[in-house]
C-alpha cells in the first residue's frame, strides 16, 4: 500500500449543510477538496509571532528523552532536531547527519554529521555530542521510556572523528534509521544535558529553528527564533532561519475554547480539533485543515486471545463479523476519518490492507458462535456456554479516546449484542485503564501506538511483548503468541534487503489480520486547524508534529 501524503486541504465554502445530512455533505466536501501546495500561496513574509493553542497535556518536562510521550514530541520538535528525517514517501533523508553507512555485518553504522552546526548555546554539534545524547537516553537516571526502547539494540556510540559517530549494535537493526528519526531520540546540547534534569526539563537546548525562552506553567511556552539556524531537514522549503520571530505555545485544554479562540483570531493554529469542529471549519474559508494521521499502528480494537472466549479463533471471527463500524465512522467523524483495514497506519509505506477479511455478516457470526459451543442464551439474549456468559470487558481510556470514538465503541457494543455478545464498556482515566490491562481484565481494548516505521508490529504482536514490564505494562494487547509471526518479525527487523523486509512484513500482517486478532478502525487521528493567514506550515512526515520552519503569517 502506498502511504497517503500529508495533505494541506483548503476548505471551501459549501452551502446548505443540514443537520440530518451533515455526514453526507462533509464527505462530499472532503472529496471535493484539493491538496494545496504550500509554495503556491505567495512569497514568504518575514516577522510576526504565531500563537499555537495545544490541547495535548502540558508536558511535565520539555526534554523528550525523559519519559517520551506525544505532547513532548509536539513542542520539542520546534527546538530539537534528529540525526535523520523521513520524507512524505517514507524515505529516510538527511538532517543533522548528512550521510550514513552500515558495516558489512550491519553491527556498526557510521553517521557523518553536517559541518559547522552549533547548538543554540554555542556548543558545536560533533560526534561527542551524539555519544553524550545516546548515553543520556540509555542512563536509567534519565527515566527514558520511548527513546530508550527505540535504541534497544544500540550498545554504544564511538567517536571516530569530530564529524563521524559510530553506532555499535548488539544485533542488526533494520529500524535504526526510523528510530533515530523520532523526536524522542533528538540530539541536544551536551552542555544543556550537563545542567541536570531539572534545568534541562525547563529549557532543553537544541539546534532547531526556535529556542525556549520562557515556560509559564499551565499557561504558555515562549519560543523565539534561532537567528543562526542552518540545519533544515533535506525536505524543507526554507533552509535558513524561520520567517516567524517566534511562537507563543499556549496550553488550552478545552477543545471548544480552542476553536472559539481560533475563530476570534486570538490564536493562529490549534491542534486536536474534534471531528464536528473540523466539519464546521470546512464550511469556512477562514481556516485550513492540516490532516496528519500519525505513523506506526492504526487505531484498532485488539481482541485478547490470551484467555476465554477469544482464545477460540471462531469467537474472534464471530465478533469481527458481527461488529459494524463503517456507518459509525462515517457519521460520528463527519467524514474526517477513513476506515482502515491494516494494523499499520496509512502513513507507513509497508502497510498491508485486506478489506475482505472484515466484511460484516451477522448470520456467519451466529453460525460461528453456535459452532464454538456458545449456543444457550440468557434472558438478555446474551449467549452462554457451560454457565459462562459471553461477556466482553472493554476498558476505554477517556484520555485517549475522543468523544466520537467513545460513541463509536457504543455502536460496537450495540451491533455485537445482535450476535449475543455482552460488551461492557468502562470509561476510565489513564491510570485505572493501564491498571485494568495490567491485571488482564479486558477482552477487547483500543490502544494507540505511535512510532516511525513498521517495526511497531514487533512491539505490538511479537510474543516477547506479552511479558509485562515491572510496571505491569505490556504492548501486545491481543496477546498474539504465534512462533511464525515472531520469526517473521524478528527476521524483518534484521534483514538488510528492503524488498525482503517488505515481503516479510507483508506476510506477518497477513497472519495477524487473518487470525482475527484485531479490528482496524482508522489511522490514529491527528490534525490541525490553521487560520488562513498562516502559510507554509506542514506536519513532519516523521511523527506528524507541526513544523513552522517554512511558515509565515500574512495580514
Amino acid at each position: 500500500m502506498r502511504a497517503a501524503p500529508v495533505t494541506t486541504t483548503t476548505t471551501k465554502r459549501r452551502a446548505g449543510v443540514i443537520a440530518g445530512a451533515v455526514a453526507l455533505v462533509s464527505a462530499i466536501t472532503l472529496a471535493g477538496c484539493q491538496a494545496a501546495e504550500p509554495e503556491a500561496s505567495g512569497d514568504p513574509v518575514e516577522g510576526g509571532t504565531l500563537v499555537y493553542a495545544s490541547g495535548d497535556a502540558e508536558p511535565t518536562c520539555l526534554d523528550p528523552h525523559v519519559g517520551g510521550n506525544y505532547p513532548q514530541a509536539l513542542i520539542s520538535a520546534q527546538f530539537l532536531e534528529s540525526l535523520v528525517s523521513r520524507d512524505a514517501t517514507g524515505e529516510i533523508i538527511p538532517w543533522l547527519a548528512e550521510s550514513w553507512e552500515p558495516s558489512d555485518d550491519r553491527l556498526a553504522w557510521e553517521f557523518t554529521l553536517r559541518e559547522g552546526i552549533e547548538f543554540t548555546d554555542g556548543t558545536p554539534l560533533d560526534a561527542e555530542a551524539v555519544k553524550v545524547n545516546v548515553e543520556h537516553l540509555k542512563d536509567p537516571a534519565t527515566q527514558s521510556s520511548t527513546g530508550y526502547l527505540a535504541l534497544g539494540k544500540v550498545e554504544a556510540v564511538e567517536v571516530v572523528s569530530d564529524t563521524v559517530a559510530r553506532f555499535v549494535l548488539s544485533a542488526p537493526d533494520s529500524a535504526l534509521l526510523e528510530s533515530l528519526a523520532q523526536p524522542w531520540t533528538a540530539i541536544q546540547s551536551p552542555a544543556g544535558i550537563a545542567r541536570g534534569m531539572d534545568a534541562n526539563c525547563q529549557a532543553p537546548i537544541g539546534t532547531g529553528p526556535f529556542i525556549v525562552d520562557e515556560w509559564v506553567k499551565q499557561d504558555h511556552v515562549t519560543l523565539v527564533r534561532n537567528d543562526d539556524y542552518a540545519s533544515a531537514p533535506a525536505d524543507a522549503a526554507n533552509t535558513g532561519p524561520a520567517y516567524l520571530e517566534g511562537i507563543e505555545w499556549r496550553f488550552v485544554p478545552d477543545s471548544s475554547t480552542r476553536y472559539a479562540a481560533l475563530q476570534g483570531g486570538q490564536v493562529d493554529v490549534i491542534d486536536n480539533p474534534q471531528p464536528d469542529t473540523i466539519a464546521a471549519a470546512q464550511g469556512d474559508d477562514a481556516f485550513t485543515w492540516l490532516d496528519a494521521p500519525r505513523p506506526g499502528a492504526s487505531n484498532r480494537i485488539e481482541l485478547n486471545s490470551g484467555q476465554a472466549p477469544f482464545d477460540d479463533e471462531r469467537v474472534r471471527e464471530a465478533f469481527i463479523r458481527a461488529v459494524e463500524v463503517n456507518d459509525g465512522i462515517e457519521s460520528l467523524f463527519f467524514g474526517t476519518a477513513q476506515r482502515s483495514y491494516s494494523p499499520l497506519s496509512s502513513r507507513e509505506p509497508l502497510a498491508y490492507s485486506d478489506a475482505s477479511l472484515f466484511e460484516t455478516d451477522l448470520e456467519a457470526a451466529n453460525a460461528l458462535l453456535d459452532e464454538a459451543g456458545w449456543t444457550a442464551r440468557d434472558s438478555d439474549g446474551t449467549r452462554m456456554k457451560d454457565g459462562a456468559r459471553l461477556t466482553l470487558r472493554f476498558p476505554v481510556s477517556t484520555n485517549q479516546s475522543i468523544p466520537a470514538e467513545q460513541s463509536l465503541f457504543e455502536q460496537v457494543q450495540a451491533t455485537a449484542k445482535q450476535a449475543g455478545f455482552d460488551v461492557v464498556i468502562s470509561l476510565l482515566d489513564l491510570s485505572s485503564w493501564y491498571g485494568a490491562l495490567a491485571v488482564n481484565e479486558y477482552e477487547i481494548v483500543s490502544a494507540p501506538y505511535t512510532k516511525v516505521g513498521p517495526d511497531v508490529l514487533r512491539i505490538l504482536y511479537h510474543s516477547d511483548s506479552i511479558i509485562p514490564a515491572p510496571s505491569g505494562y505490556f504492548a501486545n494487547l491481543s496477546q498474539l503468541d504465534d512462533p511464525e509471526v515472531d520469526a517473521l518479525l524478528t527476521e524483518a527487523a534484521s534483514t538488510s534487503d528492503p524488498a525482503e523486509r517488505a515481503a516479510l512484513y507483508e506476510q506477518a500482517q497477513q497472519l495477524i489480520l487473518g487470525g482475527y486478532y484485531l479490528l482496524p478502525l482508522y489511522d490514529q487521528q491527528n490534525s490541525f486547524l490553521l487560520s488562513a493567514d498562516v502559510k507554509g506550515a506542514r506536519a513532519m512526515p516523521t511523527v506528524s508534529t507541526p513544523s513552522f520552519l517554512d511558515a509565515w503569517l500574512i495580514g
Binding site: Q143, Y148, D198, K217, D219, D254, T257, G264, W433, S471
Partner: protein
Amino acid sequence: MWAVATLTFFAIRLIPGDPAQAILGGPGSQASQEALDQVRRDYGLDQPLIVQYVAMLGRLLTGDLGDSYALKVPVAELLGAQIGGTLLLAVLSLALSWVLALALSLVSTGRGRVATAVGEGVELTAAALPQFWLAAVLIAIFSTGLGWLPPVATGTPSGLVLPVVTLAIPLAGFLAQVMRESLLDAMSQPFVISARARGESALGIRLRHTIRHAALPGISLSGWALGWLLSGAVVVETIFAIPGLGRTLLQAVTLRDIPVVTGVVLLIALVYVVMTVLTDLAARIADPRLRQEAPR
C-alpha cells in the same frame, strides 16, 4: 486540618495507580524494576502505610508539603505560583455575585407578585446552571458571536471577565435566594413601619435599614461560597485555560501526584477555616446584636 490531611492520605490510596510509577513518567511507564525499587526506597513507599502516614504528618508539622512526583519541585513552590490566580478569580467572582445578588433581591422583593415570581425564577435558574454549560454559552455569545471578549484568558483584565461571570452567576442565584428570605422577614418588622412613619422612602428603607438583614445570611454563606468557588475553579480554569490551583489539582489527580493533591486539599481546607473566622467577624460588624455577648 489534621482530619483533612488524614482523609486525603487514605482516600488517595484507594484509587488504583502506583505512586512509584507516577514518579517514573506516569501511567504506562516502562520503568525498570531497579528504577521502581530505587524510587520506592527514596520516597519511603516500601514502608508500611502507617509509617508513611506518620512520616507525612511529621513533615506537615514542620510545614514541609514534600516534592511533586511528576514535576519534581517542592509542592509549596508549585502552589505558591498558582494560588494567586485562583484567589483573584474566586474573590472577584464572590464580589460580583454579591453585587448581583443584592441588586436582584432589593429590586424584586416585596414589589408585588409578578416581580417576586420573576426574581425567584431568575435566582432558581441561575443557581441551577452548570458552569461548563454557562461557560460554553458565554463564549458562544461574547467571543464567537460578538467578538467582545477573548475565550482564552491570557492575563489581561478582559480575559478574566467571562470566567468571573461564569463563576458568579450560579453563586449569585444562590445568595439572592437566601437574601430574599431575610429581606422579606425584615420588611415585616415593626421598625420598617416606624421608618415609613418618619417619612423614609421605600428605597431609603431598603438601603438604610433592611439591607443589613438581607446581608447577614449572605455573609455567613460567603465562607462556604469561597470554598465552592475554589472547586468551581477546576472547571472554569480548564475551559478558559487559566493557570491556577484547579488545573493543578486536576493534573495531579490524573498523574497520581499524591503530594500535590494533599497540598491543594490542605490549602482549600485552610481557606475554609480562615474564611469562617473572617465571616464571623464580618457578621459582627453587620449585626450589632452579635457584638453584645448577650445570650439569645
